[in-house]
Symmetry: D2
Subunit: 366 residues, 4 copies
């Protein structure tokens, strides 16, 4: 019920504000004896780190993680793992103006209406900086998955940036080779030029991200309110600025007939089921089938833009807002490692849960 916590058995509580002394996460429920050190976590954080190219915020955060508990002699002990990232580049002066003004499309007004107080510096708790803690937690989940389900692999990539989808065929070898994690070298060029223009005009754009997990054991997910896809939907929707989540066919499933949508089942050479297609996104009835688990989510455009927009002040005056600060023209880019992290956390959580529920014993086919 802790509302800054997610997960059932592998539970992650993130804490911290954009411009406080530090942020981080408390990871509870990690199995013992998993190899884990700061370098292993840092590697994933570095993927999300801002300021790495001109397409992300120029805020320069070291984003150095420290393990404060739960690890002994390079292994998890089964006790809570506290991960702390100190905030080092906090130019709070940039935010003086928004102390009194609500940015359209931003959580400013909602936090004020709910709490009657808000840490307005950099968005406080609603800042995208919170996602650094998620990536750190995801690194812990990945370490545990590496031990428990070594075949499992998670890949995130962008499938749309504003007006542009992916051009031509997907080439996953390209994902790490461009700043947009897009599986297409040609598309990366188009997007680069598009985003340059947007940035120069002080505008921003949305993005669509897809995260795929292969090697997921069948049987993960607990009907009916802890379904694997339910938990994935919640995990992705909880990321800042996400407005839609899809599993497999997603919203397009509404357009299909039953005949089109049914993934036909055959027997593979190993006696395990193979499917003619994956409209289901690897999940049936909330339970993984062994097919790739495929999740997609949409990130809205950054609301902090240089374009003037009508708004109001805390004291009830009309005003016009132009947000200077240092902002991502497409915050969706940095959502790729975050989506991967959430996928890792949810899969580990359900893997552990499934051990509780079934002991990992499966119904046999054949």
């Amino acid at each position: 019920m802790s509302l800054n916590t997610f997960g059932h058995v592998f539970r992650v509580t993130t804490w911290g504000e954009s411009h406080g002394p530090a942020l981080g996460c408390t990871v509870d429920g990690c199995p013992p004896n998993v190899p884990l050190d700061e370098a292993g976590i840092q590697r994933w954080l570095d993927r999300r780190k801002p300021g790495q190219n001109k397409y992300t915020t120029q805020r320069r955060e070291a984003d150095e993680v420290r393990i404060l508990s739960g690890v002994f002699e390079g292994h998890t002990t089964g006790t809570p793992i506290q991960l702390m990232i100190e905030n080092t580049d906090q130019r709070s002066k940039d935010y003086g103006e928004i102390a009194e003004t609500f940015r359209p499309g931003h959580a400013d007004i909602a936090y004020w209406q709910k709490y009657g107080i808000r840490d307005y510096r950099g968005g406080g708790r609603s800042s995208a900086r919170e996602t650094a803690a998620r990536v750190a937690a995801g690194a812990v989940a990945r370490a545990a998955l590496a031990a428990l389900a070594p075949e499992l692999a998670i890949t995130g990539y962008m499938t749309r940036m504003g007006a542009h989808g992916i051009e031509g065929p997907r080439d996953f070898a390209e994902v790490g080779a461009n700043p947009f994690w897009v599986p297409s070298a040609q598309t990366a060029e188009t997007w680069a030029s598009y985003l340059d223009d947007l940035r120069k005009s002080g505008n921003s754009c949305g993005a669509e991200i897809e995260v795929t997990a292969s090697g997921v054991p069948a049987g993960l997910g607990a009907p009916v309110y802890g379904k694997l896809d339910t938990d994935l939907a919640a995990a992705m929707m909880s990321i800042n600025a996400v407005k839609g989540v899809e599993i497999g066919e997603g919203m397009a499933a509404a357009r299909l007939t039953g005949e089109e949508n049914a993934d036909e089942i055959f027997l593979g050479n190993d006696g395990m089921p193979v499917y003619s297609s994956n409209h289901a996104g690897g999940v049936l009835g909330g339970i993984s089938t062994g097919q790739d688990v495929v999740v997609r989510f949409a990130v809205k455009p950054t609301s902090s833009i240089l374009k003037p927009r009508a708004s109001i002040t805390k004291s009830g005056q009309p005003t016009e807002v132009v947000t200077k600060g240092r902002h991502d023209p497409c915050v969706g880019i940095r959502a790729v490692p975050v989506g991967e992290a959430m996928m890792a956390c949810v899969l580990l959580d359900h893997l552990l849960l499934d051990r509780a529920q079934t002991g990992g014993v499966r119904g046999e086919i054949g």
Copy 2:
């Protein structure tokens, strides 16, 4: 953590299988002194009830609800409310064949792989009958909302059936006047003819449903993992056959620029904020703003169809599946009242949570 339970403070646990003696829900956390009786719940159940027209399954269930606890002299007492619906029309013989065979696109194989046992009669726990219990729980939530937030109104309707969206302008007066809950008389005719054809050919189709809540107080939702939209996404994704969930602009937010997406803020005559648009779907940073809360979800086509599809048997033999039984050609139709019920449960839950967190005190503007 109970995985057949949803909600934080207003908690609903559904139980029961399609062809067991009964199904129902345990509703815990309803405030005391809310007027509630069986007739008031029945009214909502009747909306979802199958067999009411030729477009839904011809299974004839009375779906009569009994209140077994938690209500005294017509009012809730604050103790758990047990609602039971007996299963009366269980033609189990229809399901003999699927005991051994996995229907493509259905949860059969996943349940088997997870549990090594499944109540195959009518889909057992994965049957859409489970949603009757959700509607009953939603009726309790509505009763409590009527007492605590009398201005709040929830409306669900279909926005797409397979190949067809809504034609022409929306007329919400039409929602209750056609079997598809579609806000357009003309569209209802098109859909009727389309679905007739599908049904006759033994096929089925998907659907898109939108649920809107007006009169939602600002300040509901608890960042960052109990966001209002996170919980709505989970609630909708947990409904059988749902593959995508959108808040406000939804997946289309990926296509917008920040300038387009920003809902500009003005001051209304009553000194409260008014917005130029509602791309956000009434939720910013996970917190309601007072605008209409707008959720959309896609329901995949019924997988139980007469069209033959390749599959395998439990004993590992290839086979072809044709599902006879009595099935909805568009199960999405009956998902409309279910989506409304989930919206009611989530909003009540957050209204109660917000009382805990803030005592309902709000930040003042002006």
Copy 3:
């Protein structure tokens, strides 16, 4: 967070009032493929059933349990198990008077102050009848434990009735042979005569119950707020009328020195640790050690007595209360099977949790 629910993974939600149509429990998280039928549950309910001898309330309840869900062909399916017990002998007229009056020592006034409404018939939700649902849930837990930890055995017995403790040595063969579950034939006679006198004088008395579990695997319990003893303490304290809980040495541990209290450790023939004593009650640091788990709890005297006691009415008038109805002179007698049931539920819950956390792998000694 559901406050009529206990357990982490094996979760039990009880529902129902003393004089409503039925009461029962929703059991979520039971592993699949556990043999279970109504007769197996009934056997345990019959132990708790009132009206079996002159020392318990003369209310005659059949206490017949029905399984409404979660079991298929004699085995659990992994879905929620709904157990219902209909109330058949509800003489509501007996309770007319207490609608307006608060019985001293009873929950009447507290429910009224909290909820502003209460089902006063027979204590409503605060009635000891709620414990029938716990015993039913405990029977499910026992069935699962029989499959997962066949060496585990749970024994409950009374160690004190009012003024009298156990006389002479304990003989556990006697536990089932007397109406007080006391391990001493001689003590049973003393208590019978003592309770007869109390009953005739319209008085009641308290009781102390001990529940022991042998064959508990080492390693159950999750520090630091899900310790095995923490959960046992909560489980026992949640039983009606319980005012104290002890693990092993219990409150007397305050009187000991470290030298006296330390259970010395030796190596058994099988290479496993054996202990010189069991002051710890089988739990160290919240984790089971493999020794017997020993819990004791005190049940206060029934507050519904014939002795006149000063009280007030709902309308604020002084009055004197004499409770007629049909009440247990020592409600603690029936708490023995309830304590056993709670022990079974907690142990199963932690056994499943431990599978999630460690996969059941243990640190080896030697």
Copy 4:
């Protein structure tokens, strides 16, 4: 379900090991706008701090708390509050021996059996140092209670140290005037001499602590598994070394008759109920009545003693253990502020919960 977390709405997750870089707690669910700063928390931590007199461990920890999140301009914001206490005086060399040996009565062996790995330095997670984080969390709870229930006052004190109870009448003015928090100057002298002897002989002793809360509003507590006394029992039992918990009359309730135990009810001058006695400890049916809430718990003697005790090593060899290090001869002394902190957390949690459940509206008497 996070097993290093307690509380329903006001949720505290403690983390950290005795000899890691730091320990602390994540406090989620604190209401916004509560005045809070480090000095206010420090004040309570200083009460628990070791090394303040010769009766507690000579380990010298500054125990300086830092607020890392959730507080802005001296007020809580409603977001998670991260409190960190760095470990400064870690003489790990003291613990080399126990890396291989299990101390009798200590959690060493249980952690090893469960996790197959343990941070043996100073007991790691099972160290009493964990309770510093509880005291810090309790300070947050006190700050919120001061705002929401200003009449509420919590007092903890020792009622027994080993062989000695309190001599003569209780004088609560003395509680803060002696190192044992005992409400009796004369008793403090007896205990001082007794403990000196124990310490010199390398022995230790147990303790009994009582915590009382006055000014608790009626109506807190949520039947039946979130009863106020259930949660208090769990909270106290979760403290290191606690073996028994009592509410009001506690274990002695087993010895009473119904006539003796019934707290008679009268009407006070203000029209509110007053009671002739408080056997119930302020809780009926799990709900507070407005009387003082009284909890008692027993702390077992420190197991780290200089007296040689038989034990075994990790590699399965018999050995004899003499624990040198720096240990409390009566760890119960430092449990007094911890018990107070747990009381504060539980009461705040239920106060917030009650706002959710009933909106704080009460049934009126008269």
